[in-house]
Structure formats: C-alpha cells, structure tokens
Symmetry: C2
Subunit: 316 residues, 2 copies
C-alpha cells in the first residue's frame, strides 16, 4: 500500500461535477489497488456534495483543504468568481507538490473558463496554466483511449490560424512527444501515423503546400532519427480500420482532425494527457457539466481512466 | 423492363478500373431489376478487358462506342493522353444524352487527373466538367451511405482557403441542397445537422468568428424557411452515435470534416452525388486504382451502390 504512487486529483470548478468525481475516485476499489489519492479541493464543498449525493466517502479521504473558499457561498451550476479562484489555487498547490516530488502525478477535474475569467485568472485553461507553472514550452495534447491515441500539432485555435502554426519544427516536436508517450505506454517501437493538413494530403500541392513544405520534411527528419513514422496520409482515409490497426499513435494537424475520429471511437472514455511537461498530468475528456452538477448522475468513466493512466505512468 | 430507367455509366479512364466495373454492372442481376444500363466507353477497350478478365458480358451490353480511341494503344495502369481525352468524350456524350432526356441519370467511373491534364483537358475532375456542361452554379458534393449522408460546403481547396469560402450564402445554399437531396431519398422532414468550422464551434468567438458571422445566420435563415436544422455543433462531437441517430444529413464545412467520419463508417461503400445539377449524377467513392487495373480484383461495391442510388432517384 505504501509503495503505491500518491496521485493528486484537483477538484476543478467547485460548482461543476469535479467534486463528486473526486469523491467517487477516492471510493473506487479499482483505483485502491493501483494508487493512493489526495484531493486538492475544499472540505466544505466536498461535505456539501456528499450530503447532496448521500455518499459517505470523505472520512477516508486525504484532502488538501483550500482555506480561502467560502463553501457555503458556492451555488452548483453557476459561474462564480470565487469558484474560478479556488479552482486555480488547487491546481497551483497540486503542481507545487508534484514538482517537489510529494505527488507522483496529477489528475485535474474540469475548470470553467468563464469562472476563471471572472476571478481575474488570465489562463484560459489547464494547459496554459501548467505550462506557465512548470516553465514547459514544448508541450502538446494527447487524447488516449484503448481504441486510439492522437497527438495534436495545434489545439484551441481557429481553422484560419492552423496553417501558419503547422511548421516543420512543431510537427517534428509533436512526432517526438508522441513517440515518447507511447514508449511510456509500453510500446517498444511505436508506429506513428502523421496526417496531412489539406484534403488528399494536398494532392501534390494542388490543394495546399504545407505537406511538401513542412510535414514531409518533418516526417523525413523523424525517420532519420530512427522513428517508425508514416505519412502524411490523407486524413479522410487515415482513420479507417486497416490503418488504425497499423498505427499506435496518430499525429493530427488540428483539433477536429484528431478529435472527430477519437470521439467517434471513445466518447466518454478518453483521457487527455499533456505531453512535454516535467510532471505527469492527465484529465478527463469533458467539461464541468454545470447542468448536472452535484446530482450524482455524471459518468465517471473518463475520470477513472485518467487516474488509471496517471497511475500506470507513475509506476513507470 | 421497358419501364425501367435507362442509366448511362461512363467508363472513366480506360487504363483504370472503370471498364471492368462497367462490365460488372451490366452483368449484375441486382441492377437488372431496377434499371437498364448503357456504357459510354469504347468497345475495343471493353473487349480487351473482358479477355483479360475472362468474362463474357459484352454481348448483352448497350454501348455508346467512342470512335476516336485506339483501343490497342491503351496500356492498363499508365497515365496516357489518349485515355484522358477518351474519358472526357464519354462524359461529354453522356451529359448530352441525359440533358436531352435519352438517359434518366448518369453514373461516372473514375477519371485520372494527370491523364486529363496530359490530354489538354482543363477540368481537374467530374464536378467541374459537369458544372460547365450543364451551366449549374450552385452545386455541392454529397457523400451517401446507409450509415451517413454528408454535404460539403467546401471540397477540394486547401485548409487555408476554407474560412474565406464559408459564407452565409454558401452555407444556406448547401443546407437547402442537403434538404432537397434527403427528400429525394424519401425522408419527409430531413433532420439536418450543421457542423461548426472551428474547434468547439468557435467557443463563442474565442477560436474564430465564422460561426457567429456566417454559420449561425445561415442556420437561422434555413430554420425561418421551415427546415429542421440544428447547429452549428462542435464537429468533434457531431458524429458520435447519439447525434448520428438524430441526424438524416450533415452539412460539413470542409472536406476532411465530413469525410473522416464518412470513411470510418462507410469505407468502399460510399456514393458521391453531385447536388444542384439539372441532371442526376452519382459516382463511386474511389479513384482509378491504376495499380490493380484490368485484373478483376477491384471491389465493385461502391459502383454498385452508385448505380442503385441513381436508379432510385431516377424512378422518383
């Protein structure tokens, strides 16, 4: 038991489904076998959620208790500045502890962008927050599930901004992060499939030059380094079953190119992993779900998968 | 038998798999019940392909015989100017006949872009050719299968060019074409799901303004006209099973947004339909497959589905 890695789970926005997911995690017999958990949250909020749900989990939980949040003022399902501020404090403290080595990994329950904004927090979400706290620069988002692993070259930017961000260096970097992540997942020689940006992967330049100018050179560079990379493949056929079988991890050029197939195959069970950080961080693949907060009806499948993946990586 | 619609099938590039698919169509007992077929091709090429395949279908076929192609000079699997020129002549003649009312519909086997180019044909493919021949301006590509129907606002353009082409008028137009197509497919009140362009459908403008400026107004306009339209939905969750069940046809903003999910669900069985033409035109969802031409190993599932759909629409 003492040898099991200690994982910090941050409560996320107190008015969302984060607190109840945290309570369900610490009560999970599946997780009890692979890790120890510490909630970064607020005891008052957790107690109120327990009462609302009628579950008695808190007694056994290890909680870092955010001292500044007035738990009684939290209204479930509402955007509140006090909630955005509390959520940020929990992440900040968990990152501090994992950076010191007190935690083996962190799993973050969802934040609410508008609540962060109302609290005057300048980061739009976890990824930017974690990059700033840890000083990491070369990061990328990976979505992981049994069916599919996808790493994104660009993430939360408009389609108009995508082509300019698909540089040779960035594509090469994400290929490297994808490779390292899959080695960590236990794949000795990960087979990496890189998608083109344009329809038909540009059709020899007829529908865009990015493939020839940036993606092909990045793939060649990665191959020269000994990585097993194919592509750029036309994205519309890259995710058909025969290609999936020959692929351990995909590198997609933009958000929906990777997440359309991912969510078709792994809706509600996917895990979001930030690659390139000096710490292990995973999160569930959903938002705060304000509409069903504190009701006990939210699915915990994605959060459970997120903790399991963090525990696996933490054990090495 | 005489009441069955007469459908023209163009041979496509003679050096590709088009000729053998045409021969298989005229021999299909399934099609014999729903339509009559006339091949627009070249008898010499069809005879050579029959001999290569060892099938005796030609005797029973109705063939418009392109007089200008030297059949003996055709080398299967090779880009040739004579092939590009012959392929264009077949399409031109079939369009002429369908426009006169001699045919009820046309189904086009695949062209090869480089062969067209070598022949000095300026059209890159069927769609542009058909639009020019018929004078149609407001057309769009629909991919059809039992699993999914998707109409595309933009098709063969680079991702960089997509945002500028997603105009309110064009989105509204494609919604209308999608509605009309599904009515023709037998759906009384088609449920139309429109995808956003940007990740999270722009997240209220944080990742792009196109949703607010063009897509939302187009959807509202279509709704005001009485159409059953939802969206713009974030594309990454638009294709999950629960949304698919509530959707008869999707409107996607760009090629891979629609074709990634389509090919995941209907690889090799999809049909490409050009909407907005004054004639009925379908085609299989694959290319000339030069690597396996004249060998009899090409799948005819997509071509068969294309003829079936054309016959259904032709019967009204």
């Amino acid at each position: 038991m003492r040898d099991l890695p200690l994982i910090g789970i941050t409560m996320g926005d107190p008015a969302g489904i984060g607190p109840e997911l945290c309570l369900r995690m610490v009560a999970s017999p599946v997780l009890g076998k692979v890790c120890r958990l510490r909630i970064y949250g607020n005891k008052g909020v957790l107690a109120r959620v327990e009462e609302a749900l009628g579950v008695p989990n808190l007694a056994c939980a290890d909680v870092w208790d955010d001292p500044a949040l007035d738990a009684d003022a939290v209204v479930p399902g509402r955007v509140q500045a006090i909630c955005g501020a509390a959520a940020e404090r929990c992440v900040a403290r968990a990152v501090e502890d994992v950076s010191k080595g007190d935690l083996a990994a962190i799993v973050t329950a969802p934040l609410h962008k508008a609540a962060l904004h109302a609290a005057g927090v300048s980061y739009p979400g976890h990824t930017e927050m974690l990059a700033a706290y840890t000083g990491a620069r070369e990061i990328c988002m990976m979505m992981a599930s049994e069916a599919l692993h996808v790493c994104l070259v660009t993430t939360h930017v408009s389609v108009a901004d995508v082509p300019g961000l698909v540089t040779r260096a960035r594509v090469r970097q994400v290929i490297g992060l994808a490779h390292a992540a899959m080695v960590r997942q236990g794949v000795k020689v990960p087979r990496i499939t890189v998608c083109g940006l344009n329809p038909h992967a540009g059709e020899d330049g007829a529908f865009g030059q990015e493939e020839q100018r940036t993606i092909v050179p990045a793939v060649q560079e990665a191959r020269s380094s000994g990585l097993d990379v194919q592509g750029p493949l036309p994205a519309d056929t890259a995710f058909i079953p025969s290609v999936r079988e020959a692929t351990d991890v995909y590198v997609a050029m933009y958000h929906d190119q990777g997440l359309i197939p991912f969510k078709m195959l792994a809706f509600e069970t996917g895990v979001n992993v930030t690659l390139g950080l000096p710490i292990i961080r995973t999160s569930p693949d959903h938002g705060t779900a304000f509409d069903i907060a504190w009701r006990g009806v939210a699915s915990d499948r994605s959060m459970l998968a997120a903790v399991q993946l963090a525990a696996r990586w933490a054990r090495g």
